[in-house]
């Protein structure tokens, strides 16, 4: 064995990992090579000194100091963590909750005729039929729930009929869009599109 081959064996010995190294050959070598033997002895001393580096004691107020520095966790932390971890789930659940509340409210409503307009005085109501009389002009949007709408006059705005039909002589009688909603899923879609107006302001951008 050559002297330059011994160093890696010495360190493998210190790492307790001499498998695959010609350790016996190395031991034979250092019997006769004073230089390598000295190197090995010095390394073993180094190893021993390194292992005997004493533990230093941590300052006694270490934990106290640390605990004082910790940012105070608010009671909301858990909810916040949830929000951060599952934003989609949280958003979906809030949506679903609001939605089912409004759906239930809707389902529980009776089938009473409802009219939303700024110009109610110009309308004629017969049973569950609402009529825009000939020669009359409704300014603004018109929403009819649970009834039919008959337009003989004019509407300067959007017309929406929920759970009913729209009857009109010709399309030019309505200035804005007309919408007829008479099925549940359409009602749902309608509400979806208008959801943002139903969300209380603190949910938006909050």
């Amino acid at each position: 064995m050559k002297c330059h081959e011994t160093e890696s064996i010495m360190h493998a010995y210190l790492d307790d990992d001499i498998d695959g190294y010609p350790y016996q050959e190395f031991l034979e070598h250092i019997k006769t090579c004073h230089k390598c033997k000295k190197h090995f002895e010095e390394l073993k001393i180094t190893e021993r000194l390194l292992k005997q580096l004493p533990m230093v004691s941590t300052p006694p107020d270490f934990v106290q100091k640390l605990m004082q520095q910790l940012p105070q966790k608010e009671s909301k932390t858990r909810i916040k963590r949830w929000l951060v971890k599952y934003p989609v789930v949280v958003a979906a659940s809030i949506f679903l909750l609001l939605f089912s509340i409004s759906l239930v409210t809707y389902m529980e409503q009776d089938n009473e005729l409802k009219i939303v307009t700024t110009d109610q005085a110009k309308l004629i109501v017969k049973g569950n039929e609402v009529i825009v009389p000939e020669g009359k002009k409704i300014i603004g949007d018109l929403i009819i729930e649970n009834g039919n709408l008959k337009i003989n006059g004019e509407v300067k705005g959007n017309v929406t009929v929920i759970n009913g039909d729209i009857l009109m002589a010709n399309a030019s009688q309505v200035d804005g869009h007309t919408k007829q909603i008479d099925r549940l899923y359409e009602w749902i879609w309608y509400n979806l599109k208008n959801l943002w107006t139903k969300i209380p302001p603190y949910f938006i951008g909050g």
């Binding site: 180094t46 390194l50 934990v63 932390t77 858990r78």
Partner: protein, 200 residues
């Protein structure tokens, strides 16, 4: 994998301050000693150790239980120590931070019972020399030597902490030991058969 650690971590994650404090008690001495041997003085060692636990506290949600907690905390502590050394290099001159008194400071804090009669032949001066020799090593060797000899970790765990292959860790250990051997062998010239040595 340490079961006790994981139990505490789960509690700490849920916001249990008592569990977090227990983790601190379990690791404070290890982290403080690591930082002390990396930095060479108690003041900076304390700063870095405090910062380590603050990071653990604020990032505990990101700790992945697939890995050992010790690997994770050692990773934080070694990175912070190296950052501190690099920052110091640009801020202060060598003379400013190397305080000769400080090197001896740890010895006065040493609990005496930790040294048995057999080992007592090793003098303070020898230990102090090893301490200084470690501090003269470039950081990449110093980290490995500290994890190996101060923290008594396996080569495998060291390789996970520093994110380097085992063969690289072994090479750095070899160079680190050779450097320290040369530093101390300048002082000791005679070595007898039993491995005991005398001052020249």
């Amino acid at each position: 994998m340490n079961f006790v650690d994981n139990k505490l971590i789960r509690k700490a994650k849920a916001g249990d301050m008592q569990a977090f404090a227990e983790l601190v008690y379990q690791y404070k001495d290890k982290i403080f000693n690591l930082a002390y041997r990396m930095l060479g003085n108690t003041q900076e060692a304390e700063d870095v150790s405090q910062e380590t636990f603050l990071r653990v506290y604020s990032n505990i949600d990101r700790y992945d239980e697939k890995y050992k907690f010790s690997t994770w905390i050692y990773k934080i502590a070694t990175n912070l120590s190296i950052d501190r050394i690099r920052k110091r290099r640009t801020t202060y001159s060598l003379d400013d931070y190397w305080n000769e008194e400080e090197g001896l400071d740890w010895y006065t804090r040493l609990p005496n019972q930790s040294i048995g009669p057999e080992e007592s032949i090793i003098s303070n001066e020898e230990i102090n020399q090893v301490h200084k020799a470690i501090l003269n090593l470039p950081e990449k060797y110093r980290v490995i030597m500290t994890l190996r000899y101060v923290e008594d970790l396996s080569i495998k765990e060291i390789s996970e902490i520093v994110n380097l292959p085992i063969s690289t860790v072994k090479t750095r250990l070899l160079r680190g030991r050779e450097y320290i051997r040369k530093e101390i062998s300048n002082k000791y010239t005679t070595v007898d058969r039993s491995g005991k040595y005398e001052m020249s």
